[in-house]
């Protein structure tokens, strides 16, 4: 017991829920979890949303966020049960022995104080260092973490540095008081793929240099495989599997773990282009009203019937703007959009009903893509009424057919969106798009907000439906793993331009342009030691740092 830094025994956590129209009541969200962390080791906590990983991470500091309460079990840190100590003991523990790095550094920094003050605050208050020593230590950490101008960056305010830099400042904040254990709560989830790699490497090196132990919480198994020694797989508050990183990645035992490890390994053979494209985008240049720079510069891509063109890029690349131009929500300043053999009017108002029917769109956030006051039946039924004049029994029959196609049944017709799960909501949106019998569907980051396994389900469904309905997809995403699974052709976008375009195999084979190289190498692979390889091969400075 005494050489284990952190020992969690049968931890139980509860919360109060407020379901609409009912009385609030208490439920248990973590059902007896046990694990250990030794000095200098990293334990990865992995699971989908609702697994309880953040809650458990915070519990190791005897903290419950937002009304969550620890209801049972023991948490031993350095030989004492922190769930049973006094308040002042707990306060001494936090910021001293155990520190925390949150998911969103931007929100976690006080906007009214300088960075240096906040980074050194805990170290000074815990009495471990004097102000001068703490500041010296902070500058040293800034340098180790690869921050620009480490001597002076502490004098800035949080809003004056970028997201990736702020995340590293938060890591410095956690390491400054020389803690025994750091809880990393999804530290890179909110960052761009290319930034994520640098921050991940910085964290890994910092852990190695300082010999600190860590809990690394994330939903991305590939990421956690890069930094952990051991992994604990969680699902809905239960332990699924617990073992060394080698065992979990290379020899998973449980079904759930196997599913997580094999995520995005969907195979999809590339199709050859047909003679006539269903969508032809030529020389499109566009800008937003009131700005003086082009968001899209001379875009040229094609999409063939029944196939998928994946448009890949990070935030700010212009991929979503391209969708807006194609649908007519943003008129282009130059160039043309040619769809289903006709020239499309720039403006939504100038398009015919047929134009609008044949081009459908599915959104990233299914919650807000559906009117919360309409039933599933109304949502799917409206395009049937509007485009085909279907009514009554005929309409209902078609709705049921569509519900079957999306693998949900007739029983969902009278449900409201709020009653559905994330995956189900997105399926209803897919059914709504299909109801119009379109030639092409624009999928705007449709799986980005979903858990990996649910996202896989949606991708499989989309591929199946493509075969049945012969519909083309313009698939917008920032996730290269998805692209490999679903695309026939790929366009890589960077800062408003297409930097690489062609068939899937061509685009994904070397030689690469600098940006595509950076992008491809930034996607974490389910392979031990991958991170070190990447950093060794880095050629280009990623933008945004």
């Amino acid at each position: 017991m005494s050489d284990k830094l952190l020992k969690v025994q049968n931890l139980k956590i509860g919360a109060t829920v407020y379901p609409p129209g009912e009385k609030p009541h208490d439920i248990e969200i973590v059902h007896g979890v046990s694990f250990e962390v030794e000095k200098g080791k990293v334990l990865g906590l992995i699971g989908e949303s609702g697994a309880g990983k953040s809650t458990i991470g915070l519990a190791s500091m005897a903290y419950g966020r937002g009304g969550v309460k620890i209801t049972g079990g023991e948490v031993w840190v350095n030989g004492r049960d922190i769930l049973k100590t006094t308040n002042s003991d707990v306060r001494a523990l936090r910021g001293g022995e155990v520190t925390y790095v949150s998911q969103s550094a931007a929100a976690s920094f006080n906007p009214a104080k300088k960075i240096m003050d906040q980074v050194t605050e805990a170290a000074i208050l815990q009495g471990k260092f004097s102000k001068k020593e703490a500041e010296r230590r902070a500058v040293e950490l800034f340098r180790k973490l690869g921050l620009p101008d480490p001597e002076n960056i502490g004098n800035r305010y949080p809003h004056q540095v970028s997201g990736g830099q702020l995340q590293r400042c938060m890591t410095a904040l956690a390491l400054c008081p020389e803690p025994d254990l750091v809880v990393f709560d999804e530290p890179t989830t909110a960052l761009d793929v290319t930034t994520q790699i640098d921050v991940l490497m910085a964290i890994k090196e910092a852990i190695r240099d300082t010999g600190v132990a860590a809990l690394y919480i994330t939903h991305d198994l590939a990421v956690v495989a890069q930094v952990s020694d051991d992994i604990l797989v969680l699902k809905m508050g239960d332990m699924v599997e617990y073992g060394s990183v080698d065992q979990i990645i290379n020899n998973p035992q449980e079904e759930y773990t196997k599913a997580l490890v094999s995520v995005r390994s969907i195979e999809h053979a590339e199709k050859t282009p047909t003679p006539e494209p269903v969508l032809k985008v030529q020389n499109i240049t566009a800008r937003y009203k009131g700005t003086n720079f082009d968001v899209l510069k001379n875009i040229n891509v094609e999409l063939h019937p029944g196939q998928t063109l994946a448009v890949v890029g990070e935030s700010g690349s212009g991929k979503s703007t391209l969708a807006r131009v194609i649908t007519g929500l943003l008129p282009q300043s130059n160039g043309s959009v040619h769809f289903a053999g006709r020239d499309m009017s720039k403006d939504l108002g100038g398009r015919s009903k047929e134009d609008l029917r044949e081009l459908q769109m599915i959104y990233q956030m299914a919650d807000v893509a559906m009117n919360p006051r309409q039933t599933v039946g109304t949502i799917i039924g409206r395009p049937l009424e509007f485009y085909f004049g279907l009514r009554g029994a005929e309409k209902r029959k078609r709705i049921v057919e569509l519900l079957d196609e999306i693998e949900m049944g007739e029983g969902f017709i009278d449900r409201y969106p709020a009653e559905l799960s994330g995956g189900q909501k997105q399926r209803v949106c897919i059914a709504r798009a299909l109801a119009a019998k379109p030639k092409m569907i624009i999928c705007d980051e449709v799986t980005s907000a979903l858990d990996p396994l649910v996202a896989d389900g949606i991708l499989k469904l989309l591929l199946d439906l493509q075969k049945i309905e012969d519909v083309a997809y313009l698939f917008i995403t920032h996730d290269l793993a998805t692209v490999k699974a679903i695309a026939d052709s790929i366009a890589v976008m960077y800062q408003g331009e297409v930097v690489r375009y062609g068939g899937k195999t061509d685009v994904l084979s070397p030689p690469f342009d600098d940006y595509t190289d950076l992008l491809l190498s930034s996607v974490p692979e389910m392979k031990l030691g991958w991170l070190e390889e990447v950093i060794a091969n880095r050629k280009m400075e990623s933008a945004g740092n």
């Binding site: 407020y18 009912e22 009903k353 609008l356 029917r357 459908q360 769109m361 919650d367 009117n371 919360p372």
Partner: protein
């Protein structure tokens, strides 16, 4: 849908008030301005349940008829304020552009003057009759409803499901009535309750200052004014309207709170 106790009580009292207001002539024991006694400021008795007022009239009847006047004016003004404010607010949100700018700046201008002051200025030149009161109060308050309706509509307008409807090719009518309105109803109805309370307070204040309902017509604010002199003699006749107004206001407040809480949970997790 379960009704919490507070909302139930609020609903019951609100209905009771409106019931009495509508059926006043059949409920009040005496006439609105009927002098029933030679003695002014009689204490409550079995004959006159609240006693008599400063002119020897039955105070209970005055209060009942007063409630009728006050509630009638407040309701009419609220309806006017609400229809004007919501329609213009929605239009501003959906039309956007210069129409939105023009209307919003104008509303800002009117709201730069406190309502009471504005009302006083206008009432110094207009005849003080009930229709004038309703129009002045209603139009002044419509500015607040405009702001709320516009904000709610703008919030909803940027939702993806509204964009999806636009992309489908739906006309403006469908978008306003089938997409925006159903989602805007709850916060608006809750606000309607609050505006009603404000109207009750407003018309009472104006009547108290002598610029609202004119005697002998009964009105809660007027009743206070008439009986105010009795206060220094320890006569509490002028305080009855306080209880009446407070009960009505709190009841409507409880109902409005309940409606507001229902909305946020129906959206399924979105605040």
């Amino acid at each position: 849908m379960r009704l919490p106790i507070a909302a139930l009580i609020g609903l019951i009292f609100t209905f009771a008030y409106f019931f009495v207001a509508i059926f006043a002539p059949w409920i009040a024991p005496y006439g609105m301005a009927e002098v029933v006694s030679r003695d002014v400021w009689l204490p409550p008795s079995s004959e006159f349940l609240l006693g008599t007022d400063n002119l020897g009239r039955d105070l209970l009847s005055r209060m009942i008829y007063g409630g009728r006047t006050t509630i009638f004016i407040a309701t009419a003004a609220t309806i006017l304020s609400f229809t004007t404010g919501s329609i213009l607010g929605f239009l501003a949100a959906v039309l956007g552009g210069w129409a939105d700018q023009a209307m919003s700046r104008f509303v800002d201008l009117i709201m730069s003057i406190p309502s009471l002051i504005f009302a006083l200025v206008v009432l110094s030149v207009m005849p003080v009759t009930v229709p004038v009161l309703i129009v002045v109060m209603g139009l002044l308050d419509s500015t607040r409803v405009y702001r709320l309706a516009r904000a709610v509509a703008v919030d909803i307008n940027v939702m993806d499901y509204v964009e999806a409807a636009k992309l489908r090719g739906e006309g403006r009518g469908w978008i306003i009535f089938r997409e925006i309105l159903p989602n805007a109803l709850s916060p608006l109805i809750a606000e309607m309750g609050l505006r009603f309370i404000f109207m009750v307070l407003f018309v009472s204040t104006l009547s108290f200052l002598g610029l609202g309902v004119q005697p002998p017509q009964a009105d809660w604010g007027g009743i206070v004014k008439e009986n105010a002199d009795g206060i220094v003699y320890g006569i509490g006749a002028a305080l009855y309207p306080a209880v009446a107004i407070a009960t009505l206001a709190i009841s409507v407040n409880l109902v409005a709170d309940w409606i507001l809480n229902r909305t946020t949970s129906l959206k399924g997790g979105r605040g």
